[in-house]
């Protein structure tokens, strides 16, 4: 089974990010770039499928040279090929722009590897801007079926059997191949790169692709701002319940809660 996993490099989501008051942008200096957590789940899912059903895994990302390190990390945990679509300002692109670039990349990679992908996996969202749109838009542009928030996928008799997680429970879906899935956290964790696999991955080539046509964004970010800080609460003290309720009512009235 031939698989493509689309990955995004994001700032380490275990670090609390603040806003740089000068640039009005998130202060990311010193924050380690990592592969988006949901994309690591997608890659692990692909690696497990490869172990069971064979085939190869290709990873692709859009960005500048710094993203190559994340792609190498993917090569250390199961990916066989890695492609970077060079774009110096990928962070300024909206999900539709990224999906356009990925659509072309899918065709370019299929041509170069002389293969057709049976399954394209994306994380369900990125941990930085969390638009949750790229996988859906990519499927739409490729005119492929898509299932979101999936926790399991298995090829069976020429179709994909998919387990989707919903608010209420699970849903079983069948999709024709090829198809696109966006991956939710399954009940397992991504494997760690081993010393050996990491050393081998460092020697592998990251192939570069160009986005060719100019990609423009339909969305414009007007302002990035932090959520309002929570102010300290008020402690009420009184001798009895009636008095404390009266105090609470007057505080809330003054704050125009009602």
């Amino acid at each position: 089974m031939e698989m493509l996993v689309c990955i995004k490099q994001v700032p380490d989501d275990s670090v609390e990010i603040s806003l740089d008051l000068g640039t009005k942008e998130p202060a990311l200096i010193g924050v380690t770039p990592v592969v988006n957590a949901f994309d690591t789940y997608a890659l692990e899912m692909a690696a497990r499928l490869k172990e069971t059903f064979g085939g190869e895994i290709t990873v692709v990302s859009v960005g500048n040279d710094e993203v190559k390190n994340s792609l190498k990390n993917c090569l250390a945990v199961g990916a066989d090929h890695a492609y970077l679509v060079k774009h110096e300002k990928s962070e300024s692109l909206d999900p539709c722009g990224i999906a356009n670039i990925l659509k072309k990349a899918v065709h370019d990679i299929e041509g170069e590897l002389e293969t057709k992908f049976d399954l394209i996996l994306c994380g369900k969202e990125s941990t930085d801007y969390a638009s949750s749109q790229v996988g859906l838009l990519l499927a739409s542009k490729l005119r492929l079926p898509v299932a979101t928030n999936i926790i399991k996928v298995e090829p069976m008799d020429g179709i994909m059997r998919i387990k989707q997680e919903t608010e209420e429970g699970y849903r079983s879906i069948e999709a024709k191949t090829p198809c696109v899935v966006t991956v939710q956290k399954p009940d397992y964790d991504p494997r760690y790169p081993t010393i050996k696999s990491k050393m081998a991955a460092r020697k592998k080539e990251i192939k570069e692709l160009s986005p060719s046509e100019e990609v423009s964004s339909m969305l414009e970010v007007i302002r990035v701002f932090e959520p309002a800080k929570r102010v300290a609460g008020i402690k009420l003290k009184a001798d009895n319940e009636q008095e404390v309720v009266a105090q609470a009512m007057s505080v809330m009235t003054a704050a125009k809660v009602f």
């Binding site: 380690t32 390190n69 190498k72 760690y192 790169p193 081993t194 010393i195 050996k196 990491k198 050393m199 460092r202």
Partner: protein, 378 residues
Amino acid sequence: MAYLISEEAQDLLQDVKTFCEKEVKEQCKEYDASGDWPKNIYEKAFEQGYQALEVPEEYGGPGLNRVDVAALIEQMAIADAGFATTISASGLALKPVLIAGSKEQKERVCELVLEGGLGAFCLTEPGAGSDAGAGKTTAVKDGDEYILNGRKCFITNGEVASFYCVTAMTDKTIGVKGMSMFLVEAGTPGLSTGKEEDKMGIRTSNTCDVVMEDLRIPASNLIGEEGKGFSIAMKTLDQARTWMGCIAAGIAQRGIDEAVTYGKERIQFGKPVIKNQALQFKVADMHIKTETARQMVAHALTRMDMGLSYTTESAVAKCYASDIAMEVASEAIQVFGGYGYSREYPVEKLLRDAKIFQIFEGTNEIQRMVVANNVIGR
């Protein structure tokens, strides 16, 4: 501050850090209390190949230089010193073979380690600690075999090793010149383990007696030549003790990390306690000592990589790093105040872990003898 390491080692360091944060640091608390050997943690670590860091590239190892490896071992020590000791003790057992073994022996032990096996270095005996030449274990040649008899004690990885490098007297009449070194594989009839030590610290490592009763091994398992065992053991320890300095520096670094984090959180007199210059100076001293120890470790390892002499530097690194690990761990407890003395908090363990580094692989008194002999001359 840290070791100056290659780009690829920086990459690996990030992986080791992530692994240790997620799989070692918190999990080891339970095993520190119980004293059980955390097999599941080690199995995961072996999957990563941590035990094979010191395997030379020509035998399938990663081919990192020693300072690169030190950065990774220190990261393991920051998470848990017992964990790092187990990994490093395996490297210790590789050394006699790498120093004096045949090509076949080197291939064999490296293969065992790459497969996820650990090694154990067996020199110490109940009556032969600092006086390592006083060992009573014997090896008698019988045709194409040697027959080993004796008891080794305080053997790290004793119960869990795949191979052992054992010193034994092939000629008791000529003292240390009659000592030889042998390679013994786990499962050889006559090899057993005895009492497991209930240790004060590094409780996630296994330490026990290793007993040999009419243990027969092929004569080809002799490492180097007969009578060279003491010299091989001393060369082994010369190299290995720097690694103990590396782990000790890791313990000290954990002490700093914990003290700084706690010092920022703990409010007394309306402000974080770290705002007091008394504690700031304490943290500065902790850092000065730790960084000095780390750079001494790096210096000794660089000399090893360059093929220069390193006996004195290695002794200085081990002795200084373990002495300051005790001081820094003690100061970390001081920063925590009463909570530092409680087992609920992570710093009392550091003091317990640090103590052994002043004792094993040559006590710090022996290290001072080594240093003095090299500085003063005989």
